[in-house]
């Protein structure tokens, strides 16, 4: 039901006015129409449904877990490059590992949370997950500073694209196997190659075995039989650990493909072409990778898996892939992942923010901890330059992650949930901003609004007053408490509180 039932033109001419009040608890905000109503039942107040506010327990749990993950980073919340004093060489690696674990944990939590949501919301969260998984693969791999990529890069890369776009579908598999000799159909080879490009090696081998191709050609064409067997063995041994092992693996793959090209076979020429394509694909032939991939991310993954798996060539692979398969602009995550691959993490934040605020906040915080978000001083020009001496929680002197964290912290205080309040205060306290006085003032303004219910809550409030040295706020709280218990006819306790507030 909506407050305005008539057409807007008559609504206005009747002298009615739409009004709205934001409540201290955002979800309890009210809208109403000021205007002459016919009867008492027409005089109503309306609570809107805010799309951006999720008050479910699952979401609260997700927020709290993300905060715990961030909190547990400890000093690793800050990114720094030691340039003087005693420089510990293992420290950067340890820091890197700690932050990698954090993003991994966050992705896991998001996956769990997404599983509890309705399809529409789950789809948004899956887009967030795709962006995080892509970032994890490209920027949060152990030892990513090394020239060669490492095993987690490729594992995470395949996890990313297979989670983001769960192809091939069951229908595609069924379609490829609908004939009695599936391997004669181009659909079958599309399927095999798609699985290979996505790093789904076991499934690709499974599909080949299920087709009985090997059994059928065992006695007719020894060359093809051997090449296929060798190719399968090679795929089984795909060296995710890379480095020197990958070079040997690739040499073997090239050898097989060259051998097949040079050899005469006793199979149908069309089938020979299909087998040849597959062998060329695993040996890293760019044209075949691009030919058999359906999307830019399949090409990208294929090039990373079979061409040269190194993070140094990601930009080049991306351009080749996008040229062959333009990105789908209707998918938020595709554009964001392109940005991630190009290292433009700032561009990702608004997309993430529109999908899920909490995810955007902790994503930015962890990216900043990893050193992926450039320092704010190199960012856009500071607005007007009149920042005051110290700046504030929303000052452009702070980093983008700080900004998002502070905004989120204040938003959590509009939920009337004690746990989220403590997360909000915790975020303010832990944010990388070193402007403690701004944090202190913000906490002082916030604390009296804390929706306390019992003595534990009050103790928590007063502990914070003590920790942040806020005696006046403590007095306000005692006065509020005094009046509260006075209304409950508890005069003695009221007097105690008033006296603590300095009233007597």
């Amino acid at each position: 039901e909506q407050p305005i039932k008539e057409p807007l033109s008559s609504f206005r001419t009747e002298g009615k006015a739409l009004q709205f009040r934001m409540g201290p608890v955002l979800s309890h905000s009210l809208g109403f129409v000021s205007g002459k109503c016919q009867d008492a039942s027409e005089s109503k107040l309306y609570t809107p449904k805010f799309h951006s506010i999720d008050t479910s327990e699952n979401y609260k749990q997700y927020i709290m877990t993300c905060f715990e993950i961030y909190k547990n980073l400890g000093e690793d919340r800050f990114f720094s490059v030691p340039t003087m004093g005693l420089v510990n060489h293992s420290a950067p690696m340890e820091h890197s590992q700690a932050v990698n674990i954090a993003i991994e944990a966050m992705a896991d939590e998001l996956e769990v949370f997404s599983g509890t949501q309705r399809p529409a919301r789950a789809a948004e969260l899956e887009e967030c997950l795709a962006i995080i998984n892509c970032t994890k693969a490209l920027h949060f791999a152990d030892g990513s500073e090394n020239e060669e990529a490492n095993p987690t890069v490729l594992t995470h890369l395949t996890q990313w694209i297979n989670r983001a776009d769960g192809e091939p579908s069951e229908e595609a598999v069924a379609e490829a196997f609908k004939d009695s000799c599936p391997y004669k159909s181009p659909l079958f080879w599309r399927l095999v190659n798609q699985l290979l490009l996505r790093g789904l090696f076991e499934q690709a081998i499974g599909v080949l075995e299920r087709s009985h191709l090997l059994k059928d050609i065992e006695n007719t064409c020894e060359v093809t039989f051997n090449v296929l067997n060798d190719a399968i063995s090679l795929i089984k041994q795909y060296p995710f650990e890379l480095g020197e092992v990958f070079r040997e693996w690739k040499a073997a793959a090239l050898q097989i493909s060259q051998f097949f090209v040079d050899s005469a076979t006793n199979i149908d020429p069309e089938l020979r072409d299909f087998v040849s394509d597959m062998v060329l694909l695993i040996s890293g032939t760019q044209s075949k990778i691009l030919q058999y991939s359906r999307t830019w991310y399949e090409s990208f993954c294929g090039l990373m898996l079979f061409y040269i798996p190194t993070l140094e060539l990601t930009e080049e692979y991306l351009q080749i892939s996008l040229k062959a398969h333009p990105l789908d602009v209707c998918n938020n995550w595709e554009q964001a992942c392109v940005n991630v691959i190009q290292g433009k993490l700032y561009a990702v934040l608004p997309i993430l923010e529109s999908l899920d605020y909490c995810t955007a906040v902790f994503y930015s915080a962890i990216c900043e901890a990893k050193g992926l978000l450039e320092n704010s001083s190199t960012l856009a020009i500071h607005a007007n330059g009149s920042e005051g001496l110290e700046g504030d929680l929303f000052s452009s002197n702070n980093s983008m992650a700080c900004y998002l964290m502070h905004e989120f912290a204040l938003e959590l205080c509009c939920y009337e949930d004690k746990n989220l309040w403590s997360v909000g205060i915790g975020i303010l306290a832990l944010s990388p901003s070193d402007n403690d006085s701004a944090k202190r003032l913000a906490i002082a303004e916030l604390l009296p609004h804390y929706p306390f219910q019992n003595n534990d809550d009050i103790e928590w409030l007063l502990t914070l007053c003590a920790k942040w040295r806020l005696p006046d706020v403590a007095k306000t709280i005692y006065r509020i408490l005094g009046n509260k218990v006075l209304y409950e006819n508890n005069v003695i306790e009221a007097m105690t509180n008033f006296s603590k507030a300095g009233e007597f």
């Binding site: 039901e1 909506q2 407050p3 305005i4 039932k5 807007l8 206005r12 006015a17 739409l18 009004q19 709205f20 009040r21 934001m22 409540g23 608890v25 955002l26 905000s29 009210l30 809208g31 109403f32 129409v33 000021s34 205007g35 109503c37 009867d39 008492a40 039942s41 005089s43 109503k44 107040l45 609570t47 809107p48 805010f50 951006s52 607005a383 009149s386 110290e390 504030d392 929680l393 452009s396 900004y403 502070h406 204040l410 938003e411 205080c413 509009c414 009337e416 701004a438 944090k439 003032l441 913000a442 303004e445 009296p448 609004h449 006046d472 006065r479 509020i480 009046n483 509260k484 209304y487």
Partner: protein, 349 residues
Amino acid sequence: MKPFVTGHEDLVHDVVYDFYGRHVATCSSDQHIKVFRLDRETNEWQLSDSWKAHDSSVVGLDWASPEYGRIIASVSYDKLVNLWEEEPDAEECSGRRWTKLCTLNDATGPLFSVKFAPGHLGLKLGAIGNDGTLRIYEAMEPSDLRSWTLASEVKVLPSPPASHLQSDFCLTWCPSRFSPEKLLVCALDQALIYQKDKAGKPYVAAKLEGHTALIRSVSWAPSVGRWYQLIATACKDGKVRIFKLTETLGGGDDAMSVDADADADAEVGSGSGSGSGSGSADPSSETPPDLKVELVSESDDHHGEVWSVSWNLTGTILSSAGDDGKVRLWKASYSNEFKCMSVISAQQK
């Protein structure tokens, strides 16, 4: 939107939340005030009490800070400010749960708006109405809420508006604990910020310029974590405006100098055109800070009259409602630009 019936038999003029947002009070042309309590189990508003509060339309009301008990102030076209206190032992919906503490009857015209000062400033309230005079009352003794004194009386308009013309008045206090006492008073199309001089007398410290029609609603943002203040206005000229108020010590070059003793009447309508103002130039520590006002956002997205603006608890989101039948939510970006983040339609499809 999820509705609930208020039971008012006429136009609802105002809806206000208590400090924690667990109660909401409404007032109406039916001369009644109603208080609703949020049921924690069902998350629905339940009528707590309803009573006849005035002998004319009740047009504005406000809750006092919980530091001073459970008190509501109401103003009406009957020219009175009434103060009400909750009697927790009285039964709900009995009509006796709220007892009148006192009546303040200094106004000479219908009253439009009443607002309690934030708790840290003590128990005081401001009221303004058609006589164009801002009156600030203070409780003589917080333990005796029946005795109030008229602490200040400031003529905001040189003369009351003609009775046949449409008028509007509203006010809002600066909620910041760390900023000197000040309040914004809107009378017709004027928006004036009053601050106290060294003698404790209110003077016009700044003006919010640019309004070309009646100001319908005004809201001072809680300045959590910000070193400046934000004020939003809703205007009949179709604009939602957001002003940034910066306090600086000493007179700046671009500040408009206003004599602390100048008659407020003279200030009204004498706009400097710069949209800025300042207080006394005395640099002593007792001197109120100079105020610099900047218009940071002006939007006509509602394509018609804007009726209300209100900030959320932490001053990060602004809502506006207007003649396009929509509620818009505004939020500042990293570059401090206010952008519409969400639009809620209030019109039945």
